[in-house]
């Protein structure tokens, strides 16, 4: 009795995992398929848009943040793609992020509250 109960719960657990993973996969695919190439790279700090570049520009710039300007992310825009070359944040997640070019794609640096995103302007 107890054992069959455990087996049933194990099966339900698997169904639950299946539902969770397929829901997030569906969400991801919807996200991915609705993406188009963007034409602007916008940089926002603390939720406010601070800089904006054309994606066709060749840019190498330091994004300085923090109360005393102690935080730095180096933004590169080259060949229609944007990426972060270097950063002073502890986790370096933004540096490891692949280059972005599709509308809506972002690189986020949570410690510095910097978001680099691709946008579409007509």
């Amino acid at each position: 009795m107890l054992k069959s109960d455990g087996l049933k719960k194990g099966k339900n657990d698997l169904i639950l995992v299946g539902i969770i993973l397929s829901l997030s996969l569906v969400g991801f695919l919807i996200f991915k398929l609705t993406m188009k190439d963007g034409n602007r790279i916008s940089v926002s700090i603390n939720g406010e848009e601070k800089y904006s570049y054309s994606i066709t520009d060749n840019v190498e710039t330091d994004i300085i943040t923090g109360d005393n300007g102690e935080n730095k992310n180096v933004l590169i825009i080259k060949d229609g793609k944007a990426y972060i070359k270097g950063a002073t944040c502890p986790d370096k997640i933004c540096v490891g992020h692949r280059p972005i070019s599709k509308d809506g794609e972002t690189i986020v640096c949570l410690p510095h509250k910097v978001v680099v995103s691709v946008t579409e302007e007509k």
Binding site: G6, K9, G10, N12, D13, L16, V17, I20, L21, L23, S24, L25, G27, F28, F31, S44, G47, D91, K92, I93, G96, G104, E105, T106, V108, L110, K113, V115, S117
Partner: protein, 167 residues
């Protein structure tokens, strides 16, 4: 649960265990820093254990003590918001699924892990004013599942041994 010396002691004991778990995780290097939000969340062992041993009330009291102390020691207002959002969503879904009696401790814990990440994503979207971070949810759903399996197994052990100690 009545306010008795034994209950206060048990809550204090579990709070101490939860804080130690968070501390261990804070001093360990990140497992895989290429993707944000990857953390096993050892302290959730205590949350799952208390949820099964007592109820959502006890689990929440201990979690809030832990979250506030850890934020005071190692974090800031930002990490506090992320922790609370993650906890509230995860404990809510775990309590609901536990009440259905359809899933094992591991299944409940998996849902908790995924919803913990979901809560943090929602906070990140609101704080950074960008919906695009939703992109990460697929990664965080997978890592939340793995973390949930580990936490569920560990919680089963914790429940077994705490019953032996008659806590």
């Amino acid at each position: 649960m009545k306010i008795e010396t034994k209950n206060i002691t048990v809550m204090a004991l579990f709070s101490a265990v939860a804080i130690i778990f968070s501390y261990i995780e804070a001093i360990l290097p990140p497992i895989w820093s290429a993707i944000p939000g990857i953390k096993v969340g050892l302290a959730n062992i205590v949350t799952v254990t208390l949820l099964y041993k007592f109820s959502i009330k006890e689990a929440s009291i201990v979690a809030f003590i832990r979250i506030i102390i850890i934020a005071l020691l190692f974090g800031n207002a930002m990490t506090l918001i992320y922790s609370i959002a993650g906890f509230v969503l995860s404990v809510a879904i775990m309590d609901i699924l536990k009440r259905t009696n359809l899933f094992s401790t591991v299944g409940v814990s998996i849902a908790g892990g995924v919803f913990h990440n979901l809560g943090q994503i929602i906070v990140a979207m609101l704080l950074l004013q960008t919906k695009e971070i939703g992109y990460y949810m697929i990664v965080l759903a997978i890592t939340g599942t793995v973390a949930g399996i580990l936490i569920g197994i560990a919680s089963n052990l914790m429940l077994k041994y705490s019953n032996k100690l008659r806590l």
